[in-house]
């Protein structure tokens, strides 16, 4: 009895010859791309010392460092209180920065939305300046603001505000562009002006979306606010960077745990609020 699998393949080859021929041009191109990407990865890893002895030495040291972090220990109640206060400060920075950015971004978003701003030049410049703001990392903004208002959490608030203005402006303008035109037309047809059209035609439609985006950024800003302390812009990052640099590793792990708990708590609260605002189905931002 002949092998049924071999027979099958022969008959299938007869019926679908194009599946058995040479790989298509597109496929070969993709393969070449993948090989090039893998080569670049290997070259990069080699250049950064992934294959040297230092890498393995470092891994061993990392294990030691991780061992020193256990158990997490703030090193006294007074320290724990300081850390807790700076965690509150971190959340405060995030809240103020996010809200401030949201308020400032509404006019920017309107300017950058092509169905509100009909002047092409204005629209173009609004877009480009938002892009420029966004391409500078939040830590750079923090450093610049530290130079302006001095060390402290206020610089952090301003940094989050600046960097999120770019993000919000872009998101808001996209939400506004996606809004339905007809409510505005309805309002204009009853004699309402352009401003009233925005207030009663666009705002009620986009407000829940905007609010949910603001909440989402509040979550992610709490994460950013934990690190801007590294450059002296307030919050828990200052203590964390100090603890790591002075090798107080048990304190460092305690601080990391605090951050994890706080971020998880804020995640839960704000995702509940977001679902309440826009419904579970469209919660993807």
């Amino acid at each position: 009895m002949a092998d049924p699998a071999a027979l099958d393949i022969a008959s299938i080859r007869g019926r679908h010859p194009h599946h058995f021929g040479q790989p298509s041009r597109e496929r070969r191109l993709l393969l070449a791309l993948a090989v090039a990407a893998a080569l670049l990865l290997l070259i990069g890893m080699g250049a950064f010392g992934f294959f040297g002895a230092a890498f393995w030495l470092g891994l061993g040291k990392l294990g030691e460092v991780a061992g020193l972090m256990i158990p997490p220990n703030p090193g006294g109640w007074d320290k724990a209180l300081v850390f807790a206060l700076s965690l509150v400060e971190t959340i405060a920075i995030s809240l103020l920065g996010t809200l401030g950015a949201a308020v400032l971004a509404v006019p920017l978003g309107l300017l950058a939305a092509n169905n509100v701003t009909t002047a092409k030049v204005l629209h173009f410049f609004a877009r480009r300046s938002l892009d420029t703001i966004r391409s500078v990392d939040i830590l750079i903004w923090a450093l610049i603001w530290v130079n302006v208002v001095g060390l402290g959490p206020f610089a952090g608030v301003l940094a989050i505000m600046t960097s999120d203005m770019g993000n919000f402006g872009k998101l808001f303008s996209e939400a506004i562009e996606a809004a339905d035109r007809r409510p505005v037309e309805g309002i204009v047809s009853t004699g309402g002006g352009k401003l009233l059209g925005i207030r009663f035609g666009i705002l009620p439609e986009v407000f829940p979306v905007l609010a949910s985006q603001v909440l989402y950024f509040f979550e992610s800003n709490t994460r950013s606010a934990t690190i801007i302390g590294i450059v002296g812009a307030g919050g828990i990052g200052l203590h964390l960077a100090e603890a790591i640099r002075t090798l107080e590793l048990q304190q460092a792990s305690f601080l990391i745990l605090m951050i994890l708990v706080a971020v998880a708590a804020i995640d839960i609260v704000s995702s509940q609020l977001r679902f309440a605002l826009i419904g579970r189905r469209s919660a993807v931002v």
Binding site: L41, A47, I91, I93, P153, I256
Partner: protein, 294 residues
């Protein structure tokens, strides 16, 4: 032309109007409460974050003059008047920028590889064992919640200064972020091909390769490109903690008030980031378009 509007008799109208007013009042009260909560939170936060508007307005001149100084050379001329002087360190900066890009690439690639192997374990519909799913999920969560810079700080202790700790920190963060997104992609696939492959007696990894992977690959690539964009941006600041890239030169010039160097490096970063954004955006849109045509 006035169309006749049917007016209800007053006796019927009054209770309707009253209930309308009550509904509006209730809604207004609710909004007012929300606003009050936000105002209270802002007030409390302002105390905690030492916000002082007088300080801001007193120093806002500093901000504009700082920006102004960024665009002046030591000689007091505008930077545009002497590009050669402005970009005196172009060769070095370009090399550092190249290192930054390579760091972002290697970090993204390693993280994506890790996420790729984890996501099939972490997806509810294809995971081989429920406990594996739980483990993979928690691991990804840990990787993405601890800020990249914190990992970088710790790795700098272990591996010493240089790009290696930065790349590792980025890879770990990417693994966490993409692991979650990839798992969601896998959870949204059509299960019929997977069942079909499994029905032929194929083991789990073969079912994943021929049943699940073809449906997810373009989404994976699109997310990885998006992550690359993000990582280029964050690679520019990893140098702040000594983890390689152009951030090292940037923080030095900011701290030492080499104004024109700061603006020169910032302009380079902004151009690079925009070019990469545009390029990856183009590829991603093509990928999404392909997906929709299918």
């Amino acid at each position: 032309m006035a169309s006749p509007i049917v007016q209800l008799p007053d006796a019927q109208m009054r209770p309707l109007l009253a209930s309308y007013d009550a509904a509006v009042r209730a809604r207004r009260l609710q909004s007012l409460l929300v606003v009050a909560c936000i105002v209270a939170a802002v007030a409390l936060s302002s105390i905690s974050a030492e916000v002082s508007l007088p300080k801001l307005f007193g120093n806002i001149g500093n901000f504009t003059s700082y920006i102004g100084r960024l665009f002046h050379l030591d000689s007091g001329n505008l930077v545009f008047s002497d590009p050669a002087e402005w970009y005196w360190g172009l060769g070095r900066w370009l090399r550092l920028l190249g290192e930054t890009l390579l760091m972002a690439y290697v970090g993204t690639a390693l993280g994506t590889l890790g996420a790729f192997f984890l996501c099939f374990l972490a997806a509810a519909n294809v995971t081989p064992r429920p406990w594996m799913r739980l483990l993979a999920r928690r691991f990804c969560e840990l990787c993405r919640t601890v800020p990249e810079l914190v990992f970088a700080l710790m790795f700098v202790i272990a591996f010493g200064l240089g790009p290696l700790p930065g790349v590792l920190a980025m890879a770990i963060h990417t693994l966490g972020a993409l692991g979650k997104l990839f798992a969601e992609v896998v959870e949204n696939i059509d299960m019929k091909p997977v069942e079909g492959v499994s029905a032929t007696g194929a083991p789990w990894h073969v079912a994943m390769r021929f049943g699940a992977l073809p449906q997810t690959l373009s989404n994976f690539v699109s997310y990885a490109l998006l992550r690359f964009e993000i990582n280029v941006r964050s690679a520019t600041v990893l140098g702040f903690v000594g983890a390689g890239g152009i951030g090292m030169d940037l923080i030095e010039s900011i701290r030492k008030f080499y104004y024109s160097d700061v603006s020169a490096i910032l302009v380079l970063i902004i151009i690079t980031v925009s070019v990469i954004d545009t390029a990856t955006g183009y590829v991603r849109h093509r990928l999404i378009g392909r997906e929709e045509r299918r």
